[in-house]
């Protein structure tokens, strides 16, 4: 399987003496050779997201000599990205990711063309952005964008090299290849927001996106070279803890609304709406819940008026920072509710205020009445009251 566009066939491209030296370890292997290296030089690859998956992707594609790389990201480098987004350095914190990634990749390989798009991928710009590229690589982090990338790729007939991760588990495949399945063949719909794991189960082992992003880079290069067996029609599952790869068959679903025999989706839609507002997270159910700001709580405590403090985060989060509250993780609250006294006023908090709102909804049904949600959670406490408190 190889991706060949008219532009790729027509270009008369050669390698300079310096390039021959740079790519010599490719050129001396028959699977790449001069022909393959020229294919790489002519190829146009767009990576969506320059984060955890985008980092190894960008680095390896640039190093391999993919001649035209597009980088889409609207985000800014944060210090919490550095644990896994290895394109960035500490000095990049605060810079736009697409720009910082472009600078890093250009330094790695000045012979290739890199275009950065500091923009959020939307239904309005996706088709136009994708049109100039042969292969799209999906390194995004949310359901709406994943469906958007899929649909735009199917509409334009472009392969979508897919990778996703969760904590220490990864998935990778190639969607949108002519005749092969698309993302909607695998998952017709996104999970409803309420069933998506919350921050209590978030986080990711930094090496994991490095591995999955590298698999995506490998698949992209194989598509360009037209060599080997691509992941089209196979879903690769990777469990880093067990260090085990498994593989499942993926079939095009004849009933798929996007690529099936009777397709019902013929243009891009509103993906935020399709995924139920925000797909990744449930908006805090703050309706009917009384709140207290960290500043107000501190003022009350200073007056000697100290309401009971309940912390519904996980024990490992408590170790990072805490307000000396009683710790009962949200998931254990049902079982341990009898440890709480419903006659005293209680301030409930978590990291940012969402889990504590869920806890209050539950406690209300259990007969508790004097409940206050710490607005913005312990993060807001660090901002408003105690700047020395670490944020995570």
């Amino acid at each position: 399987m190889a991706i060949q566009t008219d532009a790729m066939k027509q270009q008369d491209v050669k390698l300079s003496r310096e390039e021959i030296q740079r790519y010599s370890r490719h050129l001396i292997m028959p699977e790449v050779g001069m022909e393959g290296q020229l294919k790489l030089k002519k190829a146009r690859v767009l990576t969506i997201g320059t984060g955890g998956l985008g980092a190894p992707l960008g680095l390896y594609l640039a190093a391999a000599g993919v001649g035209h790389l597009g980088l889409v990201d609207f985000d800014v480098v944060d210090s919490s990205n550095l644990q896994r987004q290895v394109t960035f350095t500490t000095a990049d914190v605060g810079k736009p990711k697409s720009e910082a990634a472009k600078a890093r990749l250009s330094a790695l390989n000045p012979d290739i063309e890199i275009v950065s798009y500091e923009t959020r991928l939307t239904s309005d710009n996706a088709l136009e952005l994708f049109r100039d590229y042969d292969i799209i690589v999906d390194g995004t982090d949310n359901f709406p964008t994943r469906f958007l990338v899929n649909d735009a790729c199917v509409l334009l007939g472009k392969p979508n090299v897919y990778g996703s991760i969760f904590r220490f588990e990864g998935q990778a495949t190639v969607f949108g290849y002519p005749g092969g399945p698309c993302y909607r063949c695998l998952y017709p719909e996104p999970p409803p927001p309420g069933l998506v794991p919350s921050c209590a189960e978030g986080g990711v082992l930094g090496v994991l996106p490095g591995i999955v992003g590298s698999i995506q880079a490998m698949e992209t290069i194989k598509l360009i070279l037209g060599t080997g067996d691509s992941l089209v029609g196979r879903l690769l599952l990777f469990d880093a803890l067990a260090m085990r790869f498994r593989e499942l068959k993926l079939k095009r679903n004849p009933e798929c609304p996007m690529c099936g025999d009777h397709r019902t989706i013929t243009k891009l839609i509103d993906y935020e709406e399709f995924c139920g507002i925000r797909g990744e997270e449930t908006p805090a159910m703050t309706e009917g819940i009384q709140e207290i700001t960290p500043t107000e709580l501190k003022a009350r405590q200073d007056r000697g008026d100290k309401p009971f403090l309940l912390d519904v985060r996980e024990p490992h989060e408590y170790q990072i920072c805490n307000l000396n509250g009683k710790l009962i993780p949200l998931g254990e609250l049902t079982r341990r509710v009898n440890e709480l006294d419903s006659s005293v006023e209680m301030v409930v908090h978590c990291r940012s205020g969402k889990r504590s709102a869920d806890a209050i909804h539950f406690l209300k049904t259990a007969g508790f009445k004097k409940l206050l949600n710490l607005k913005g959670g312990i993060l807001a406490w660090a901002d408003e009251v105690d700047p020395k408190m670490p944020k995570y």
């Binding site: 997201g49 588990e169 999970p191 189960e201």
Partner: protein, 96 residues
Amino acid sequence: MAVKVMIPTPLRQFTGKQSSFECNAATVGEALSGLTGTYSELKKHLFTDEGKIRSFVNVYVNDEDIRFLEKENTKTKDGDTVSIVPSIAGGGAQKN
């Protein structure tokens, strides 16, 4: 018919962190009932209120998608592996 059900990371919080579950089952439906019978909280994550498998969760017997076989009625034999594969979207790490 002893089958092994593989639990994906996002659902392990409902199985006491267990990554697999073994039970006797003649069909995929029986294997999943066995699983949700032991870990009741899993039920709403795997099935709709009408008892159908949720559309963002796929179930495989060995490497075959049961949607293209006989769905929940797909037969299982001794030593089969039933995999639950939910959609995950992450590319980095989300927090909220």
